[in-house]
Amino acid sequence: MTATAPRGTGAVTPGRGDGGPAPRRAAIAERTLRTDRWWVQPLVTVVVLVLFIAYSTFRAFQNAYYYAEPYVSPFYSPCITTRCEGDSFPEFFEGPSWISPALYILVLPLGIRLTCYYYRKAYYRSFWLSPPACAVAEPHGRYTGETRLPLIGQNIHRYFLYAALVFNVILFYEAFASFRDETGEWGHMGLGTLILLVNAVLLFMYSISCHSCRHIVGGRLNSFSKHPLRYRAWTWVSKQNARHMQYAWISLFGVAFADFYVFLLATGTISDLRFF
């Protein structure tokens, strides 16, 4: 027998948010009547993201084992202080030794992920439970969405995109630079080269498939027929945009794996597999 509200009170929940009791709705007390395992998806999202955040935070603060000639971990690329290990690019300033070089740059990749339209869906659902799943009532009494600070700041996503595209160029540079061997001679390729290259491609696909990118290349136009090149670019980006979620996850795993591979090399746990 289901729990129901007594006659005369109207709905119990949902709908009792900011506006008080929802008038005249069907009196159904259950938070949801869904019978499937709707909680699995937000739970998996939480577990995976927490694991990634824990790993990346540890590595960012570790300030060691991020360089194994000729590979630089993507968490430390570009390495902008003169304290960086190896012959890194571009060494702007010295900086205090107790600050990890990763901390200067990681705010930008963090920013694009944090303001990304896909990740917003993922963490609003799984961390903030707003809503935890479709047709499952959220636990909050009040909801203002992205209308005020701090969440109105999500609207600067495109600026993080611009920064991410610069990072993409740098990561490709680092990947191509790893075609040099330990002595700086060209003509080397190891498993690490392949991993850095794949990582650069995945992160580029994540950036280029972004909703803001789709808008900038052509989405803002009302007459595609007057801009055929931008229409073609928009069409291609739109196809990639349909896979934005997949790129978001695969590139997240990819960057962590690339860092872990460099960590294993730098600690001497394994040695690089040389192709030539």
């Binding site: 289901t2 129901t4 509200a5 007594p6 006659r7 005369g8 009170t9 109207g10 949902p14 709908g15 948010g17 900011d18 506006g19 008080g20 009791p21 008038p23 005249r24 709705r25 069907a26 009196a27 159904i28 009547l33 869904r34 019978t35 339209y117 917003r120 869906k121 609003y124 707003s130 809503p131 479709c134 047709a135 499952v136 009532a137 959220e138 909050h140 009040r142 909801y143 969405g145 992205e146 209308t147 969440l151 109105i152 609207n155 600067i156 996503h157 495109r158 909703h211 803001s212 789709r214 808008h215 989405g219 803002r220 009302n222 007459s223 595609f224 027929s225 229409y231 945009n241 349909a242």
Partner: protein, 251 residues
């Protein structure tokens, strides 16, 4: 091949009600609406249910089936196990009139608020001209059958009745997007989308897209592009500067 299914159907009105259990026959190939009709004709003659085309095109028979907003006429009984209890309730975001029928007038009030299509002047020969590629995006949104499932599932108004005063819901976000993207339309709806229709309330959690029976990409193709257009107008200093120096007069 027939079997007896257990149905729980919400019965009541605005004063109150509850889920009542029924055992009802189900035949091969039937949909939930068929079973509801059998229930109505054999056991509860006064069961209120709104329906019309029974083909997924009129948007009348919207309800919640096992907690998920669905069209009753498009939900096959074969998707449930024979021993599975099927629970049917009215849309939970709107006032109930009776049993499975809700008062969806909120949506028509919102529709009336949208600034109408305002085309530019006709060409010299008296015609309007536009290319197919220019209207393809808008045409996706024209598939909307106004079943209000997206409005029902949207947590902004489903879980917060008070937000109905500030947020019109996903169906009207794509109506605004449709008009704003139209090559012949002359009205700039970006400020209105943000200030009058509450675009900022949407946190793009995509439930509207998940429940749309027409498969419209409400979030990816409608709401997010509209949000990006509002960013052009309100939050991007470079685009704003471009509009001031004449590079982007439309921004």
């Amino acid at each position: 091949m027939s079997y007896d299914a257990t149905f729980r159907v919400w019965r009541g009105d605005a004063e109150g009600g509850d889920l009542q259990s029924f055992t009802v026959a189900v035949n091969e190939g039937e949909v939930v609406l068929d079973v509801i009709h059998r229930l109505q004709s054999t056991q509860v003659g006064d069961l209120a249910v709104r329906w019309n085309c029974k083909a997924g095109k009129c948007g009348s028979c919207s309800a919640e089936i096992n907690g998920r907003p669905r069209l009753m006429c498009m939900t096959r009984m074969s998707t449930f196990g024979e021993d599975e209890t099927v629970t049917v309730t009215p849309l939970r975001a709107f006032p109930v009139i009776r049993d499975l029928v809700t008062d969806v007038s909120f949506n028509y009030e919102q529709a009336a608020r949208i600034p109408a299509f305002t085309p530019k002047a006709r060409e010299e020969d008296g015609n309007h001209r536009m290319q197919q590629v220019d209207v393809e995006r808008s045409q996706e949104f024209r598939k909307c059958i106004e079943c209000w499932l997206c409005q029902d599932v949207c947590h902004v108004i489903r879980d917060h009745e008070g937000n109905k005063a500030a947020f019109s819901g996903p169906r009207f976000m794509i109506r605004l997007a449709e008009l704003d993207m139209h090559p012949l339309d002359t009205v700039d709806r970006r400020d209105a989308a943000q200030d009058e229709f509450g675009l900022g309330y949407c946190n793009i959690t995509k439930c509207c897209s998940e429940v749309c029976p027409e498969g419209i990409h409400i979030t990816d193709n409608g709401i997010i592009p509209l949000k990006e257009r509002v960013v052009d107008r309100r939050f991007d200093p470079l685009t704003w500067l471009g509009s001031k120096i004449g590079r982007r007069p439309q921004a």
